[in-house]
């Protein structure tokens, strides 16, 4: 199987704690790869290392064959990786539509040189509004387009984060607990959205989640982490039946 994202032997320490202790994973193309593990097992740290927020002490991250270890987040974005946060990081006082527009790639009007000349970016801006509206319709957020993001409900914020990620035409989306704090019905809805998006847009997902009951049925491949190490990997059923995983979760 083709794996565009590979990490090899990543090590990240905070003081005396080894948050990542030699993590190697493969994220397969157009699949939903799930990382599970109890709190503090290093899942979010892994996302932060892949997306350039933390520099690993050792190991490397490869995306489509090129080494992206330690690149700043905005360079990682240029390679085609977009991430979402556990707590939505929206541009709070900007409207829903503005949040979407900022997320787009290569908007000519964002260059200071061109900003003064409306004719140089008006058409691009119109196209982006059209694209944003289509994504918002997909997520049932289109009626809220002119509302400030801070007025949305928690679930809508989660959806907007996903919408914003899609706006950037990513090759791969890394999601940090997309259903944390969301009721089970909406949580399932979010995953249904992800499934249909993957099919429509040929997207690859790497999702960190610890609500196994909801997330597992949607996953194609699962890694289980504990104390900075990968302790199990395989199909959802294989990992679920692994005794080591059960012990990690139950704290045995």
């Amino acid at each position: 199987m083709d794996a565009p994202l590979k990490t090899r032997d990543l090590v990240k320490t905070f003081g005396g704690i080894r948050a990542l202790d030699g993590v190697s994973i493969d994220v397969y193309n157009e699949k939903i790869t799930l990382i599970i593990g109890p709190n503090g097992s290093g899942k979010t740290t892994l996302i932060n290392v892949i997306t350039g927020f933390y520099h690993p002490e050792r190991g490397e991250v490869k995306f489509n064959g090129s080494n992206i270890t330690g690149l700043p987040p905005f360079k990682i974005f240029e390679k085609g990786i977009v991430r979402t946060f556990q707590i939505p990081h929206l541009f709070k006082s900007l409207t829903v539509l503005e949040n979407m527009l900022v997320a787009s790639r290569n908007n000519p009007g964002e260059k200071l040189r061109k900003a003064l000349f409306k004719n140089s970016w008006r058409r691009a801006e119109e196209h982006l509004v059209e694209k944003a509206l289509r994504i918002l319709e997909l997520l049932n957020l289109d009626h809220l387009w002119d509302k400030p993001a801070c007025t949305l409900s928690g679930g809508q914020m989660k959806l907007l984060e996903i919408g914003r990620a899609l706006m950037a035409d990513p090759l791969m989306v890394l999601m940090d607990e997309p259903i944390a704090g969301v009721n089970p019905r909406l949580a399932n809805e979010i995953f249904e959205h992800l499934l249909s998006l993957r099919k429509e847009l040929n997207l690859t997902f790497l999702i960190v989640e610890h609500r196994l009951d909801i997330a597992l049925p949607y996953a194609d491949y699962v890694y289980a982490m504990d104390r900075g190490k990968i302790i199990s990997k395989g199909s959802p059923s294989e990992v679920l039946e692994d005794k080591i995983v059960a012990r990690a979760y139950l704290g045995g």
């Binding site: 927020f53 905005f74 929206l90 900007l94 503005e98 900022v102 200071l112 900003a115 801006e125 509004v129």
Partner: protein, 355 residues
């Protein structure tokens, strides 16, 4: 009797200067969220350029050999001679004025990049402290290093409008100042209503998310500071020409804070707010200055303006924390028009929006 015309001209001239300063802070703080507490530094940059260079560059043309005279002691005389020379050469006078204010803007922008470079990647508070310190540093250097603007004595600035008689001179000068300020305001408003303006606001709201979406936050912030500082440098140069002299102690942090009051009062992130805030300030400040001779208060009358603005600021923060004119979404294009057109198109096609 108060000379109404002179008062009006004075108000317009000062409004032009403070309008420039408040929109420059609005770009940095209102839009980009950069707490620039060093506004006085960039304002001073323009003033120092005008003060240190105008006389020196034009003196040889006016027949003064700078090697023969002590510039520090005789700078007032030299400036007067240069003014006389300029009054006979309108073209040169205006060229000098325009060249010096452009140079002031360039110097301001340059200093904006240099002074913020060490801290632009740090958290906002550190940037604020760095800029505040840089401003004081520049003022203290100018105060003690005579060759720049003659130290504590200050330096006289030649008058590029000396060719006009009496009050006409002030009217023309104030008119030119105001036109420059309005032009800059329009430019900044254009930037604010562009995707670049939206990007600045996004970075202000959430730096990490902006980085996730491929925005080089440090470099974009630097750009905002470059714009803001150039405008402040321009304002400083215009101010130096208007008051006719440059003194280091004119550029204390209080200037910075006054500009902050204007922006917070008027509404950060709204250029109209910045314009209103500075208008309120200049009007009341100038009027207080005029009436202070006619009223008696049991304290030093010079504090009246500070007290009035302190109270006003507290009231606005209590009852309208986003300023008199709060921020609005940057309508780069007419979104509702585009969206309703798209919806109509979707309804018209049988496939619906999916097609």
């Amino acid at each position: 009797m108060i000379d109404i015309i002179r008062l009006l001209v004075d108000i317009i001239a000062f409004y032009a200067i403070y309008l420039l300063l408040s929109i420059s802070l609005n770009v940095e703080y209102g839009y980009a969220g950069i707490p620039n507490f060093g506004k006085a530094l960039f304002f001073a940059a323009g003033g120092f350029v005008v003060g240190s260079l105008t006389s020196r560059l034009l003196a040889p043309l006016a027949g003064i050999d700078l090697h023969q005279v002590n510039f520090k002691i005789y700078n007032v005389l030299i400036a007067t001679k240069v003014s006389q020379y300029l009054s006979g050469n309108i073209l040169l006078a205006l060229t000098a004025f325009i060249a010096m204010i452009i140079l002031g803007a360039i110097m301001g922008g340059l200093l904006g990049v240099v002074a913020s470079y060490p801290a632009i990647r740090l958290r906002e508070d550190y940037l604020a402290i760095t800029l505040l310190a840089a401003g004081e540093l520049a003022r203290i250097i100018a105060r003690n290093y005579d060759p720049l603007i003659c130290g504590t004595l200050g330096v006289s600035v030649p008058d590029p409008f000396a060719w006009l008689p009496g009050i006409q001179r002030s009217i023309v000068q104030a008119g030119i100042m105001m036109s420059i300020a309005v032009m800059v305001w329009l430019l900044v408003e254009r930037i604010a209503r562009s995707p670049f303006g939206r990007l600045l606001r996004a970075i202000r709201e959430d730096e990490r998310a902006a980085e996730v979406y491929g925005k080089n936050v440090a470099s974009i912030r630097m750009r905002a500071l470059l714009i803001g500082s150039s405008i402040a440098g321009l304002a400083g140069a215009i101010y130096a020409f208007y008051v006719g002299s440059v003194h280091a102690d004119d550029y204390t942090p209080i200037r910075t804070f006054i500009v902050w009051v204007m922006v917070v009062l008027g509404g950060a992130g709204n250029n109209a707010g910045a314009a209103l805030g500075s208008l309120v300030y200049v009007l009341s400040d100038r009027i207080i200055m005029q009436v202070k001779y006619y009223i008696t208060v049991p304290f030093d009358i010079n504090y009246l303006s500070y007290m009035a603005f302190g109270t006003l600021l507290i009231l606005v923060l209590m009852y309208r924390p986003k300023g008199i004119l709060p921020e609005k979404p940057s309508l780069t294009i007419d979104f509702s028009k585009v969206i309703s057109r798209l919806r109509e198109e979707a309804e018209a096609s049988p496939e619906g929006s999916g097609g």
